[in-house]
Amino acid sequence: MTLLALDRVDKVFGGLRALRAVSFEVAPKSIFGLIGPNGAGKTTLFNVITGVYRPDGGHVRFDGSELGGLAPARIAELGVARTFQNIRLFRAMTVEENVMVAGHKLQRSGVLSAIFRTTSHANDESALTKRARELLAVLGLNEHAEDVAGSLPYGSQRRLEIARALMLGPKLLLLDEPAAGMNSAEARELERQIRFLRDELGVTIVLVEHNMSVVMSVCERIHVVDHGETIAEGTPAEIKVHPRVLAAYLGQETTADPPGEDAP
């Protein structure tokens, strides 16, 4: 059983091969870590999965459909939500409005209903507001609902991105460095929230993160990439002692080529 399967995905930017034959599978209701040094291709992978980039080779399969070549909005509709490494909130809108924007599935009436302010328009607005408040409560942002999103502190902005992504009602949530800029207390709270999303909302999570204590604490499996290539995959305990992972993060003692070890 897999929810998301990448099969030998390639992505080339001019002369740079950003991704080479990356393959991995994510089981439903799991928390899957994606790590690697800066520039390894983690965000590129997210961009390929969510349709921002088109893969130059290979397949991305999600819940029975091929995602390669679909538009980002279509992929989001199918149930893939994401957050962004460099926060992309609708800064001038309120916290609550940011979340409501993603609530297309709760909306039953169209623009004509809005123009004539019909009952179904009012019902939609109530349903959107209600759901947005519930998700803000999950992420601990309810008291900021009326604040302008751009005025929130950094850590809260990251949590708001998660609340907004959840409003899509996704099956899969891609989190791009959610703990960046958080202090350790905030990071512990984030770990709790990520587990809550999986346990209570049943969302599968793929996490890109540099904060290793967060990754090791919440992820069940971890996939490691470097220079666009898979170098390892395994449980947190296996990854912690994997020689190629250590070499990628800490450098190698010799200049010799690493042993031709492949992902398990």
């Binding site: 969510t50 921002v52 538009a71 980002p72 909005a73 989001a76 509709e77 939500a81 994401r82 962004f84 992309r88 909130l89 609708f90 800064r91 001038a92 809108m93 409005e97 409501m100 924007v101 993603a102 609530g103 297309h104 909306q107 169209g110 623009v111 809005a114 123009i115 004539f116 302010r117 019909t118 009952t119 328009h121 009012a122 019902n123 939609d124 607005e125 109530s126 349903a127 959107l128 507001t129 209600k130 408040r133 907004r164 992504a165 409003m167 899509l168």
Partner: protein, 339 residues
Amino acid sequence: METAANKPRWALRALVGAGAVALIFAAGLGVQAGFVEYVQRIILLAGINVILAVGLNLINGTTGQFSIGHAGFMAVGAYAAAFTGVHLAPHVAAALGAGGVADAVTFNLALLVGALLAGATGVLVGLPSLRLKGDYLAIVTLGFGEIIRILLNNAQFLGAATGYSGDSAAGLPTYTSFFWVYFWVLVVVGLVRNVTFSQTGRSLIAIREDEIAAEAMATPTTRLKVLAFTLSAATAGIAGGLFAHMQSGIRPEDFKFDKSIDMIVMIIVGGLGSISGAAIGGIFVAVTLELMRDLQQYRLVLYALLLIVIMLVRPEGLLGSRELGLAFFRRAQKKPGAT
């Protein structure tokens, strides 16, 4: 979430609407009695500017897609309404008997035809060009505005460069009155306000704020941009129809590039993204341009200076993106306890 509180109270709305129309009617009588014709004309122009600015603000301010060719849509609306009015009037008069009622029916049908045609042109221009971003979109809309003007300059059945004034020597009928201008101001402002404060409006603002994030949130960005562009073009068409019936004829000259720039000035001065700001900007431009008429050739210099001063002192425009605190503009319909 079917709740009784969500049921719109139609009777109350009808009452408020009728009250507003009656108020406009009374104000119209007051204006007619109290002001000389010259001042009345400025008041009409101000109303037309409000329609133009509020409509343009929907695409430029709310959605953040810069159109600088809206005079083209105004021209389409003006010519379509004038042409329709001239050819429809005899039939309506035959059916209803000549008089005030027939005139009102002819005029409003003509305005609607103008709005529809301008809106349809908006779809045609918007569909291919709204995939472009920023400067590129601006250039396409600029080119469109010029194309319309040049087409009109060469359209013999619309009078070409000398302009269109109908078939009679008297020129176009001057249907445009205080009542009809401000009736349409009410309709257009109500329409734009209801679109803005809804899920559609939130999505439009989201596109302006961050298009990539909006797409990642399943927002149908191209469809919504075309929708906003079309509504904006249709309102410019209504303004064009009202403008056409203020005088005996319209010329392609009336819809030159500087007309588009005037509209941009209105929304920038008022504050991009604010409906009430756009309205204030529209009135501001109509009034200042007229007040400075005595200065003759120095008028444009002073006007430019005034704009520079406003941009230095209040770069976000008079209202910024805020709305006036009237109940009418208040963020929509959140009943207490709805959360």
